[in-house]
Symmetry: C2
């Protein structure tokens, strides 16, 4: 089975976007070499990225542009190269390079993806997707970067999860820029 | 100035109580000696505890009882002995030992308490109090125990905070029971 991981930055009050969908609170200090190495290591993977529509549209409107290549050449090349899956009932096509559009049953499609051969899969952003797959117990690992800021309002990625989800902590790593990386897996 | 600290356990999705006001998710493993020493050290302080009405009523209905003394003798003695302040517009009296009821302006009362001589003050629970005092920039330190569980719904202690609150991380400590203790102060 391919492993399905969620990777998201969260505020101290648990939000992965603010009330307007803004995720810019999650920027780390660009002069923190250890942090930059950590982020760069994540972006260089060659697994599959899974998105909901909102996060997909945000990413697809940036990474293929010349501005992205100029600002973050390595990340842009990786994001454009990696295989991507977007889950949406309203999109008719997905034009970003190497992207598959799935319009049908989310949990069923993810079960098929997990059973197929290949490398690991990572969900970025995509709160409604995370909530549905967490509830269906299809996520194998949760990775959070807890950022040193309170937002006051925003979206959690677990809205609609009706059963408590107990987790086992696998890793805790504090960065000099104030971020804390936490890694968990569900307790079966 | 007396230092005002918030100490709360939070779920991974940022809630300090679940949707029904239940905080039992925050229980640590009772066999984790390091965790027990940490909790015991916190409860043995002789500062002042600050509460909103809901948390006060929950605490006041338990700690003075024989059951509390039987279950947690040291914590009960400490909680009953410490000076406590409850902020409420609806309570008419506060009968728990060593408790002062404040019915007037919250921020003004806290400014007076901070200026008075004495030891540090700690807010437990009391989400609406934390939110108002965070917004008024009257809290000097935030201490969170991030528990390894997703609740799906609940209350954050920052509901109503309208301005982003950037923080500096002071400490990060991972316990064997899966809890992660994080300590922050506001960036002036």
């Amino acid at each position: 089975m391919r492993r399905l991981t969620v990777f998201n930055s969260v505020s101290l009050d648990g939000f992965f976007t603010d009330a307007r969908g803004d995720m810019s609170f999650a920027k780390g200090d660009p002069h923190d070499a250890e942090w930059n190495a950590f982020v760069g290591g994540n972006a260089s993977g060659d697994g599959t990225l899974l998105f909901g529509r909102k996060t997909y549209e945000m990413m697809a409107s940036f990474w293929p542009t010349p501005m992205a290549t100029q600002m973050k050449p390595d990340d842009a090349a990786g994001m454009n190269r990696m295989h991507k899956v977007v889950f949406s009932r309203s999109l008719h096509e997905a034009t970003w390079n190497n992207t598959t559009l799935v319009t049908g049953d989310l949990a069923g499609a993810v079960r098929e993806l997990k059973a197929a051969p290949g490398r690991g899969m990572v969900i970025l952003g995509s709160g409604s997707i995370v909530a549905q797959l967490a509830q269906a117990r299809l996520i194998d690992e949760y990775q959070f970067v807890v950022c040193p800021v309170v937002l006051g309002a925003g979206r959690t990625m677990f809205d609609g999860v009706t059963d408590r989800l107990p987790l086992r902590r696998l890793e805790s790593r504090a960065f000099a820029n104030g971020n804390v990386f936490l890694r968990y897996e569900p307790i079966a």
